[in-house]
């Protein structure tokens, strides 16, 4: 899987690559620079060596070859290395002939300003001309080991090869951590705040990021939204339900205190208990649908047949003749839906329509096919709904008539219908007719309308 263009991956990779290249470059350049400085003799060494040359010159001037020889003996006691004093044609001035070794040293002698090689095992020969008269000769001696430059080289090398890259890597690590931790910290803070305040969202900066953190932030926002919504609905439902329960409960209290006959009392109790049971089960159904958001299994249904079932009940419940529920949807129409959900939705719509119907009014089902959907609508001949409330009637516990009469229900019917429709991927909305209200349903149609199964 290749990370996306805005992925954090590329930033991290770039940072790591840059830090690697920078470390190698810096370390190499420093090694060269430090190396250059480290192989030169320092000034104190030069002073001492020049001083020796001056002493040798003095010894030659005062004592000739013997003087040089004596001085060389004295020098040998002070410095461990080999030494000789030669003239410009490289002949010994101490009277003693040069050994093979000394000749070789003479050939490879270095000046004081030259670089020393600290790779050779033996100390290099340094030639120092006499300070007063360089033409008279020079002192050639092995560098005293204490002046050998590069004694600190292993230290420098460790510093440049181990410590410096480690430091640079540490800086890169801090940078990486900072890049990752800043948004993460922000998210962490939001999550912590969300625990107390469900309204908390991630900042615009984080949400606008196009990398994984931005994605996480946006997902968090969506989750927070959903949680807040569910919490809100449930709180509202609970609030409304306990509020609504008071009505039948207070009616019951009144009935108990009154002196009704047992028969009447029983009937009252039965009616209120039925109402409360309906209220509880409808509220639970709403809360359940709200948290689940799952779709139910769908099958091919004939809207006309489902209408028949619903009308069968509604006609009895309300004492209406079945003819007052005309169905003008073709019998061969087939929608993709869930029987129980569709029946529940239609049942609630019909119940609502009947409630607001005038005497001898009709409640009808119409429908037409629109592309790959069936558009159905349940119409009544009642007073309709103010246009600005066409949406609010689907909210739980919303009733248009504020007076809570015994048979007006709890205002849950349309919300239950709405949920039942959305569970089978259908939609539901209301429109005013003149006169009356139409509640519209839209459900996927069966693709091959010929295959009629139910």
């Amino acid at each position: 899987m290749i990370p996306g263009r805005h992925s954090l991956f590329w930033k991290l990779v770039l940072l790591l690559c840059l830090s690697a290249v920078f470390t190698v470059g810096l370390s190499g350049w420093l090694m060269r620079e430090v190396g250059k400085r480290v192989v030169l003799l320092d000034d104190s060494a030069k002073v001492v060596m020049r001083e020796y040359a001056a002493q040798a010159e003095q010894a030659l001037q005062q004592g000739g070859a013997d003087g040089v020889s004596v001085w060389l003996e004295q020098l040998r006691e002070r410095e461990p290395g080999d030494a000789m004093v030669v003239n410009t044609s490289d002949s010994s001035l101490s009277g003693r002939p040069l050994t093979e070794e000394q000749r070789a040293g003479l050939r490879f002698q270095r000046e004081l300003d030259w670089r020393m090689s600290f790779r050779s095992i033996r100390m290099p020969y340094i030639g120092v001309p006499f300070p007063d008269n360089p033409r008279a000769g020079r002192l050639v001696m092995q560098l005293p080991p204490r002046f050998m430059p590069g004694r600190h080289w292993p230290l420098w090398r460790t510093l440049l090869v181990v410590v410096l890259p480690a430091l640079l890597a540490m800086i890169a690590g801090v940078l990486l951590y900072w890049r990752a931790m800043v948004p993460l910290r922000e998210l962490q803070a939001r999550v912590r705040r969300f625990q107390d305040d469900p309204e908390a969202r991630v900042g615009a900066g984080l949400a606008a990021r196009r990398d994984e953190f931005g994605d996480l932030g946006r997902r968090f926002d969506r989750m927070a939204e959903r949680v807040a919504e569910v919490l809100g609905t449930q709180r509202q439902l609970l609030h409304d339900m306990s509020h609504e329960l008071r009505t039948p409960l207070s009616r019951l209290s009144v009935a108990l205190e009154g002196d009704l006959s047992e028969r009447d009392l029983r009937r009252r109790v039965a009616r209120e208990v039925t109402a409360m049971r309906e209220l509880v089960s409808d509220t639970l159904a709403l809360a359940w649908h709200d948290t689940e958001q799952r779709d139910t299994a769908t099958e091919l249904l004939s809207p006309a047949a489902v209408w028949d079932l619903v009308v069968d009940n509604a006609a009895f419940e309300n004492g209406w003749a079945a003819q007052r529920f005309p169905c003008r949807v073709p019998a061969d129409a087939r929608v993709l839906g869930n029987l129980n959900d569709l029946a529940q939705a239609l049942e609630n719509l019909v119940r609502n329509a009947v409630r607001y119907s005038p005497p001898e009014g009709q409640v009808s089902l119409d429908g037409r096919r629109e592309g790959d959907h069936w558009h159905l609508w349940v119409s009544d001949q009642g007073p309709g709904v103010p246009d600005d409330q066409l949406d609010t009637i689907f909210e739980p516990f919303v009733r248009l008539d504020q007076a809570r009469s015994a048979n007006s229900g709890f205002g849950l019917g349309l919300s239950v219908a709405m949920r039942a429709m959305s569970r089978q991927s259908g939609t539901l909305w209301a429109e005013n007719n003149s006169p009356g209200l139409s509640v519209h349903l839209r459900l996927p149609a069966c693709r091959t309308s010929g295959a009629a199964s139910v």
Partner: protein, 280 residues
């Protein structure tokens, strides 16, 4: 359609019985109860003492032998050893959870079980039925509702016991309706009805027990082989299709009637008088 229904309200508030149906009401009751009136042994496993006692009283009054139990483990032992016809089982129990009890019980026994639960949501319903309950009733329920379901299961079991004696093959005839059990084909006056398997089984149940009110709970048990949910409309849809097919075959007068709040019945009178009954 309206004429086809025989509204029978328990409260007797709106008794609008019409035509032939009225005089037959009591007969339906007698016939329906005849088969289930015999004493059955019920085991009630329910931890709420009040509900438990009420259930015991209610079913004892209806001539059942009732054993009450308020603990899960004890209940499982009783259900395993005792010879019961039906177990009423609460889900939330001390000792052993009702669903676990049911799972344990099903290892050895196939005694019918009705689950009772205050949890009442769909998930419980599904798990409960999958794990081998015969029916599920969410609380709160009315005694009448429970009694219908108890009767439905007892009746189904009784029918299954008698099934061996019953004629399995051959055809069944009733006033022009002819059902061939072997091919599962139905005809009305030699006209094929073209029924689905479920519709055939439904019609068979009606014809075998004509003039009796078959409760929805019973029809779900015998025809659809599952418990009846309050919002379940499948049976209604099958009945609706069956009615349409009978009507298309020329059978007028709505012989398949809704008995409000109870179930459906096949009225033989309308079959024999046929076209003479008017529809409104």
């Amino acid at each position: 359609m309206l004429l086809g229904m025989i509204p029978i309200h328990n409260e007797g508030e709106r008794k609008e019985c019409k035509g032939v149906a009225q005089c037959n009401d009591n007969i339906y009751y007698l016939r329906m109860n005849a088969i289930t009136k015999c004493a059955s042994r019920l085991l009630v496993i329910e931890d709420d003492p009040v509900l438990c006692g009420d259930l015991g009283d209610y079913f004892r009054d209806r001539h059942h032998r009732v054993t009450l139990c308020r603990d899960g483990r004890e209940g499982l032992a009783l259900a395993r050893d005792g010879d019961f016809d039906l177990v009423l089982l609460d889900i939330l129990l001390p000792g052993l959870d009702g669903l676990a009890l049911l799972a344990g019980l099903r290892e050895t026994s196939s005694v019918p079980v009705i689950l009772l639960s205050a949890l009442g949501d769909e998930q419980d319903r599904i798990t409960g039925l999958v794990r081998g309950a015969d029916d599920y009733l969410p609380k709160p329920f009315s005694m009448a509702e429970l009694a219908v379901r108890v009767a439905a299961i007892l009746r189904r079991v009784a029918l299954e016991r008698h099934a061996a004696d019953r004629q399995r093959h051959g055809s069944l005839e009733l006033a022009g309706l002819r059902l061939d059990r072997e091919t599962e084909q139905a005809r009305y006056q030699d006209q094929p009805l073209d029924l689905t398997v479920t519709e055939f089984r439904l019609l068979q149940a009606f014809v075998e027990q004509c003039d009796q009110v078959l409760s929805k709970a019973f029809l779900y048990q015998t025809v659809l082989h599952r418990g009846y949910g309050r919002h379940d409309r499948s049976l209604d849809l099958h009945v609706s299709h069956l009615r349409r097919k009978l009507r298309q075959a020329g059978l007028h007068g709505q012989p398949l009637r809704t008995v409000w709040g109870q179930g459906y019945t096949l009225v033989t009178d309308t079959l024999s008088v046929g076209r003479s009954v008017q529809t409104l």
